[in-house]
Amino acid sequence: MATEPIDMEVAGMCVNEFGGAIGMPQLCGEWFGNQIFWLVVALVAIYFILSRIALPRIGSVLAERQGTITNDIAAAEDLKVKATEAEAAYDKALIDARAEAHRIVAAAKADIQADLNKAIAQADAEIAEKAAESEKAISEIRASAMQNVEEVAKDTAQAIVAALGGSADAKTVSAAVEARMKG
């Protein structure tokens, strides 16, 4: 605070000669008028600043923001509905595609099965043919083998008879061999 002495007359009753307060400055009646006057000026100034400029502006900004938010929410709602629709369409497409794939797979399977069956049948036929041919060949071979055995047996029997000192005509030996082979 001010320490140099000031003029008592000018400073008034509420301040001593060193600029210190006498009593409570709040209760000094000399200063009331000044404070009240400037308080009223200040309050009126703030009131006009607020009611003319600031409050309508802030109110409109808040309202505008509220409107923007509401619009955005509505737009978001719209987009959400669209998204849901798109999802449904996508799901449907997916299901269709899956069904198509199933169908194609089934058709392919059927085709392959048919081809396979045909091929198997053909192969069976070929096998049967080959088996029949082999059968025939085997029976021919067997027949010729039988004949050979008979001839060999006749020859052998004749040779044995001759070796034993007997004589036998070919007719008798072959008849005996045939009878023996049948029996």
């Binding site: 605070m1 320490t3 000031i6 003029d7 000018v10 400073a11 008034g12 509420c14 301040v15 001593n16 000669e17 060193f18 600029g19 210190g20 307060a21 006498i22 009593g23 409570m24 400055p25 709040q26 209760l27 000094c28 000399e30 200063w31 009331f32 008028g33 000044n34 404070q35 009240i36 006057f37 400037w38 308080l39 009223v40 000026v41 200040a42 309050l43 100034a45 703030i46 009131y47 600043i49 607020l50 009611s51 400029i53 600031a54 409050l55 502006r57 802030i58 109110g59 409109s60 900004v61 808040l62 505008e64 923001r65 923007t68």
Partner: protein, 252 residues
């Protein structure tokens, strides 16, 4: 009494906790007449400028996505608007600019007063009493204009037993007329008390041994004062709203 000794005690502890509240001319010396520009005037003007800066310059862009200053302004607007709407109801919204004026002035005068070497207009009874009495008279006149004689029903507690009602009415009347007194002294007293206590602690700093303690105490008090500055502005405003509600709906 103690004040006569001011200035003479050169050494030792010197407490002048009240000197910070002296009103003096801002330009030069001289008597304080009603139009003089004093330190009180200057700090009130700064409060007005601060309000202007926050609420007008801060919102000048009107951006939908607010800047920092604009969101503070919107926060203040929403805070007071909601308070008025919650307490006074829809009819009270008409008086929102008046209440906002009081709140912004008090809160900025309080906060600016916390700057070192500052003067706090709201620590003076003259200032707060004018605001409180303005609220009191406005609310009383409004009550009679809006409700006529039935405004007196505020004092007649119809839910009390009949025998008690006259006594209660007397108490209600007294408490009604004490309202502006407590309303103004609460604000001025809080501001004055905090500043005076800080000044007393500052006086202790003259002793080297307890100076650190004094600094800590000043810091703590300063933190408390920041809180008190806001709370007292809030309380002044909310009580204004409550009084306004009584004028608008006297039968609750």
């Amino acid at each position: 009494m103690a004040a006569e000794a001011h200035g003479e005690e050169a050494g030792g502890l010197v407490f002048h906790p009240m000197d910070q509240f002296i009103v003096k001319p801002f330009f030069g010396d001289g008597a304080v007449s009603w139009y003089t520009i004093t330190n009180a005037t200057v700090w009130m003007a700064l409060a007005v400028l601060a309000v202007f800066a926050l609420l007008v310059l801060g919102t000048s862009k009107r951006s939908v996505i607010p800047t920092r200053l604009q969101s503070v302004a919107e926060l203040a607007y929403g805070f007071i608007y909601k308070m008025v709407e919650d307490i006074c109801g829809k009819e009270g919204v008409k008086y929102f600019p008046y209440i906002m004026t009081l709140f912004m002035f008090i809160v900025f005068a309080n906060f600016l007063g916390l700057l070192p070497m500052a003067f706090t207009p709201t620590s003076h009874i003259a200032v707060t009493a004018i605001m409180a009495f303005a609220v009191f008279f406005a609310v009383t006149i409004l009550g009679f204009v809006k409700n006529g004689a039935s405004f007196l029903g505020l004092f007649w507690v119809s839910s009390a037993p009949l025998a008690l009602r006259p006594i209660l009415a007397l108490i209600e009347v007294i408490s009604y007329f004490v309202r502006p007194v407590s309303h103004s002294i609460r604000l001025a007293g809080n501001m004055m008390a905090g500043h005076a206590v800080i000044k007393v602690f500052a006086g202790f700093a003259a002793i080297a041994a307890i100076a650190p303690l004094s600094v800590v105490a000043i810091t703590a008090m300063y933190g408390l004062e920041i809180l008190v500055s806001f709370i007292q502005a809030y309380v002044f405003t909310i009580l204004t709203c409550v009084y306004l509600k009584d004028a608008l709906h006297p039968h609750h």
